[in-house]
């Protein structure tokens, strides 16, 4: 298995927790009671100022039945691997013209793959 550079996001994780809490219509008091921390600590965590034990962190993730896909813009987990996420990030660093070239190349490769999959005339038995 190859490694993809990991996504380092303290603030993003905090913001995401806040967003998910609101989506689930939970107040800070309600969520903090469920996961066993103080409301003020959850508030600091959402701001990226508070670190927690592994137990608490994983309880929060489990509270939202969170998968990697759900975490990143609610995309289905199975459809996005760490490598996929890295490719997407790499593409976003390119200028618009280069991004169009990548899209054209992907379209070309897909067309090429489809052509290979189809039996050519004269070779059918």
């Amino acid at each position: 298995m190859a490694t993809a550079p990991k996504i380092r996001q303290v603030q993003l994780v905090g913001r995401k927790i806040r967003q998910l809490r609101k989506q689930h219509k939970l107040t800070q008091t309600e969520l903090s009671a469920r996961i066993g921390i103080q409301q003020s600590d959850l508030s600091r965590m959402e701001k990226g100022e508070y670190r927690v034990s592994l137990d608490t962190l994983f309880r929060i993730l489990a509270e939202f039945h969170m998968s990697m896909g759900e975490f990143f813009d609610e995309v289905n987990r199975e459809s996005v691997t760490p490598k996929d996420a890295q490719i997407l990030r790499d593409i976003k660093t390119l200028d618009p013209e280069s991004q169009r070239e990548v899209e054209s190349f992907i379209a070309f490769k897909r067309a090429q793959g489809a052509a290979v999959d189809e039996p050519r005339e004269g070779t059918m038995r």
Partner: protein
């Protein structure tokens, strides 16, 4: 502090009490908690037989302290310790009661309550003019502040505790240096963090003490500076020792750090294996964790001392 003669109804019992108490304290220093518990229980019996209430309070606090560390103290013990604080018969008994109440709530992860009592223990130690007690109470306060992610305040408490600690208490100094080293890593002062952690590790090794906590802190430090090989080496040592001693919190943290270190080293298979083991052994309901940890770096959210 030795009890004064006025604290005994039957002075003949005093030597027996002192011998039992001092022997139990020595067992405690050696980490022999069960033996220390039995010794302090016998000392409490001796105190109850012939000592004044203030001394009985201290004897009870000593026994309660070990039972708390052993995880065998029920809520009634905390209630008795609180009563000793309220009765306020003598400063030493109050200091002991406050310190052990701090530990009682610390172990139950009721950090704000624990901090309240640790501060009282610090203040009583200051009133008594005992530097060693101020240092141990300060270390407890600092650990609780660390749990609360109040790293700058924790650092200041640890620096004060180190300065107050008697020179011959090398074990406590090593533990404080490990905690301060962890703070320094979190504060981005990594060179200082490494110096403190290695001093702690060397002292613990020389004293023949368990040192997996210091090794875990070093693994964390090396991850911070992206030295994967060294993080793996210290993390592996911490994991092996913690497994032998049944310290599950350290086992969890070590598996997590080893996964992170393996990933940093470019070995995603090994990283995945560590994360899978972490999930299967400790979080069996959360099957998403290995993939999640492979993709998202949560080290910035995790507090190893919480």
């Amino acid at each position: 502090m030795s009890p004064s003669g006025a604290e005994w109804r039957d002075r003949a019992l005093e030597p027996r009490y002192l011998a039992l108490r001092d022997a139990a304290a020595a067992r405690l220093r050696d980490g022999l908690l069960e033996e220390a518990r039995d010794g302090f229980a016998a000392a409490l019996d001796a105190a109850r037989a012939g000592a004044a209430p203030a001394l009985v309070d201290r004897a009870f606090c000593n026994l309660a302290g070990v039972e708390i560390e052993l995880g065998r103290a029920p809520e009634t013990v905390a209630a008795q310790l609180r009563q000793i604080l309220v009765d306020n018969r003598d400063a030493e008994g109050c200091r002991l009661a406050a310190y052990h109440l701090g530990r009682f709530y610390d172990l139950r992860k009721q950090i704000k309550k624990a901090l309240f009592y640790a501060r009282i223990a610090q203040e009583r130690s200051r009133q008594l003019g005992n530097d060693a007690w101020q240092a141990s109470s300060g270390n407890l306060t600092a650990l609780l502040l660390l749990s609360e992610s109040r790293f700058d305040e924790a650092s200041r408490e640890l620096e004060r505790a180190l300065a107050l600690l008697p020179a011959d208490d090398e074990l406590t100094a090593a533990l404080i240096m490990d905690n301060l080293g962890y703070c320094r890593f979190l504060q981005g002062r990594t060179a200082e963090g490494f110096r403190l952690c290695f001093r702690s590790l060397r002292t613990l090794r020389r004293l023949g003490r368990q040192r997996w906590a210091a090794q875990l802190t070093l693994a964390y430090g090396y991850l911070q500076v992206e030295r994967a090989g060294r993080a793996l080496r210290h993390g592996t040592a911490a994991l092996a020792a913690a497994e032998r001693e049944g310290d599950t919190t350290t086992v969890k943290n070590a598996l997590f750090l080893l996964g992170e270190a393996a990933n940093l080293a470019g070995d995603a298979d090994a990283a995945y294996d560590h994360f899978v083991r972490l999930q299967r052994e400790f979080y069996p309901e959360q099957a998403f964790l290995p993939n999640f940890l492979l993709a998202v770096d949560v080290t910035g959210l995790v507090n190893l001392k919480a």
